[in-house]
Symmetry: C2
Subunit: 200 residues, 2 copies
């Protein structure tokens, strides 16, 4: 059976990275690897953290329509290579793709069977507290992040599942349950399941 | 939030009872209690195993259209009292309702939001082995059960989820994951979730 594609979004500060990392550690699910033109940071591994490539290589893939979605950020490109995702799924591997709300919509168009999960903090108040606790953001930047968070949360209804990240452990378990349950959906598999039952 | 209604079907010998019993033991989910006109067996408790009632009491509820579904078996009546189910769900409790394929269809009509789970043995061969192992069935009765099993399995596509009961422990975990995931569905709750996020 083909693997399943899980698309995970949520405002910065919701804890997506922590939750997805823990899910990957505890299960056989893998994180999707993006391509980027930015330089590797210390410890980052090509093919694991990112596919690092030159501007020319990146634009060549863009020309061939090889990215499910791509964006530019501070002059650097980031993209989700369609071939990588399709091959992983074909090999039977589940994939998690962390991406913002705009990216998620693009992925749904190319992978209509994907399962979309939205992670949100327990409250706007708590999100504010988490962002302030980092101590690295200017007041303007905090205000901007909260505004962005509100905009993202307004897109919740286009998602299949939501997880309120109050306690990380519970949020991780919720996500593992969602992934597990997805493998038990009948969907359009009834005929295949009945055949296996009769012939096994 | 209202509780969720899980309808569980599957051929005799699939292990529905064992799985549901274990799920109820490990979670807060409750089993729905049916009404019946048959006599209590030793150890059976009114209101827990069944609502035991007289023929007159049962038919009075039928007249008032108070059963989601009811059947007659060997001259005794069995029914699912609608008021019981609605009150449990209203109180926020999840309910499991074990029922055959015909009953499940009736329940879906009265509770369109219910989640239907089909439990099946790993194979027809294994089902045959399980039924023969009981040692209580005549050859004709074994053949009839297998025929019934095939008929039931053919209804799989009307179910939301399937669980192959190969190892009981895995089947129990699969069912708990399905129940858990169901609580994280966005469905028509987006507005409520966003409101909670903003105002909490």
């Amino acid at each position: 059976m083909e693997g399943l594609l899980f698309v995970v979004s949520g405002p910065s500060g919701a804890g997506k990275g922590t939750i997805c990392g823990e899910v990957v550690r505890r299960t056989e699910v893998e994180l999707s690897v993006s391509a980027t033109t930015r330089s590797p940071r210390k410890g980052e591994v090509h093919g694991k953290d990112y596919f690092f490539m030159t501007e020319e290589e990146f634009l060549e893939i863009v020309r061939k329509d090889g990215f499910v979605e791509y964006v530019e950020n501070f002059g650097k490109h980031y993209g989700t290579p369609e071939a990588f995702v399709r091959e992983k799924l074909k090999s039977g591997r589940d994939l998690i793709l962390e991406i913002d709300v705009q990216g998620a919509a693009k992925i749904r168009r190319k992978f209509p069977q994907c399962v979309q999960i939205f992670i949100l903090p327990p409250s706007l108040e708590e999100l504010k507290r988490r962002i302030l606790n980092r101590g690295t953001e200017s007041p303007e930047s905090v205000a901007l992040r909260l505004k962005q968070a509100m905009d993202e949360v307004e897109c919740l209804e286009t998602y299949d599942y939501f997880i309120v990240n109050d306690q990380v452990e519970q949020a991780v378990e919720a996500m593992i349950s969602i992934i597990s349950a997805q493998h038990n959906k009948v969907g359009n598999r009834a005929e295949e399941i009945i055949r296996t039952f009769k012939e096994a």
